[in-house]
Amino acid sequence: MTGKNRKAVPDLTVDLGRGLVLKNPVMTASGTFGYGEEASAYLDLSELGAVVVKGISEEPRRGNPPPRVVETPAGMLNSIGLQNVGVKAFLAEKLPFLLDRGATVVVNVLGSTVEEYLRVTERLSTAPVIGGIEVNISCPNVKEGGVQFGMCPDMAAGLVASLRSATDLHLMVKLSPNSGDIPGMARAVEEAGADSVSLINTITGMDIDIRTRRPALGGVFGGLSGPAIRPVALRMVYEAFGAVRIPVVGIGGIADPEHAVKFIIAGSLAVQVGTAFFLDPLTPLRVIKGIEEYLSREGMLSLADARGSLVVGDPG
C-alpha cells in the first residue's frame, strides 16, 4: 500500500470525537453482527472501523416469539425484539473476545426507563476499553406508557442528558426514522450532550399472511431494513447533517461501496452496514476497499474531502 509508484493512499481514519477514533469509516450495525463471535469465522474484526454489538439491556431478555423475520421487496422486516445476554454476561463473556480480536467496540444500549439506560451505561463505563456507546432510543419507555424515547425530542434529550452526566464514553445517539422530525431530534440530542448521531434505525412496518389472516411476524410489527429504505435513510442523514455540528453516522441499506459514498456525500462521517452483512459476511470489507478506491480515483486525500460535498443548485 505504500509502494513508490502508487498514488497517495487516502486517509480513511475517522475521529468521531471524545476518544472514538476509527481506522476507517465502516462499522457493523447493531443487531446484525451478534457479538462478533460468528462473524470472526469470516473476517478479521480488527479490520473494521468498529463493531457495534447487539443492543444490551440490564438483564438478559428472550426477545419476541417467532417468526421473527420476513422478506419484503428489497428489504426485510425483523421483530427480534430486545433479545440479548444482559450487561453482566456481555462484560464477562462477550467483550473479552472482541477485545482479544482487536475490535473497536461500540456498545448499543437499551432500556425501558431512563434508570435502566443509566445503570447499563455506568456498568459499561467501568470498562474503559470500550470505544463508545450507541444509545438506542427506539425502545418503548414503560414509564411513559410505551412511547418510544425516540419519538419525542424532549424525552430523548432528557435521556441523553442523564447519560452524559454519567459517562465520559463517546455517546452516539441512534435516531429513529419513525419520528417525524429528524432535524429536531438531532438538535435536541446534540444540545443534551451527544457526541454523534447515527441513523437510521429500522422503519416500523408489518406484513400479513392472507391465508391465515395473521401477522407474518410473531411480534406483529417489525422493523424494515435493507436496500428498500436507503432513499429514506439518505434523506434523513442529509437533514441531520444540516441540523447539527456533531458527526453523523449513516445507516440504511448500504450494501455496496457506492451506497456508502452516497451517505458520505450527504454528510456522514462514518457508516454502518446492517442487513447486507447477512448476504455476505465480507460486505463491510468490500465497502471499505471501495470507499478507498473512490477517494483515490477522485483525487481526494481524506474522507473529509468527500463528506457533505453534495452540490445543490441549478446546474445551468
Binding site: G63, V70, I80, E258, L279, K289, G290, I291, E293
Partner: protein
Amino acid sequence: MTAGHDDRHCAAPSPSALMEAEVLTNTEVAAGLWRLRLGMPQWSRSEPSPGQFVMVRVSDDGDPLLGRPFGIAGFWLHGPTAEMEIIFRVVGKGTGFMTRWSSGSPVRLLGPLGNGFPLPPLGSRCILVAGGVGLPPLLALARSLESGGRGGDVLLLYGEANRDRMLDLDTLPDLGVRFATCTEDGSCGREGLVTDLLAAAEIGEDSLVYACGPAPMMRAVHERVSGRCLDSFYSLESRMACGFGVCAGCAVEVREGDEWTYVRVCSEGPVFSGDLLTERSFRQA
C-alpha cells in the same frame, strides 16, 4: 446515453465469503421437486456432515434479497473440487428462480452451516423419518451411514402427499439402505402418513430416530418416540435472514431446565435432540 451505472462506479475488488459454484445439472425429479447438482472448483472448508445446510444466494441483484437455506443432500469431494447435491421443492419466488438455472449457471453460497446429526453409537439401529422435502438431509445421513459400513442398521421411512410429488428412491443407486414409502392418497407405497409407517416399525431402546419434515409431522414423531428410544433428533426449520448466527431471526423455543429459552436454528441447530424440544418447538415457521 451515458456509460456506466452509479452502482458500478466503484470498480472495487470484491472480497466475499461466499463460495463460487456452478450448476452441473438441475432436473425436475418429481412434480415441483428439483435435484440440483453443484460443482465447486475450490472446496476450502471441512467436509459437511449430514444435517448441515447451505445458504444459497438466489440472485445477486437483491431480489430476492436474502439467501435461502437448503439441506445438503449429498456431497462428494474429489481433490480440491467438490460436488454437492441439493433437492428443493418449488414453494415461492426463490425456488421458482432456481428452476431457471441450468448447466453452467453460476451459483454462490455460504456454508456448510449449522450442526448436523450426531452419529449413532455402534450397535444401535437408526430409523430415519422423512416427510416430504424433509428428505434431503436424511439422504445425506443414510449415505454417510452406508459408506461407513452401517447401512444395514438403517431404515428410511419417506412419506409424501402422492406419487407425483415423490422422489423415486430407486433412482439413487448409492443409497444402499432399507426404505419404506407411503403416500397420503395411497398412490405409491402404503396409504397414510409417515407416522403410520413409524408406528409399524420396531422401536426399541437401541433405536435412534432421526426426523425431518413439516412441523406437525415432527411433532407427531416426537410425541410417539420420546422415552421409547435411545435418542431422537429433529432437523427444524425456521425463517432465516443470515443463516450463520448473527441476526437471531431463526429463534425456536426449547427447554432450559424447568424453564424455556430461544435458541437459533441456524447455529444451535438445525438438528436438536428430542430431549430439548417441546410441543412449542414445532410451531410452523
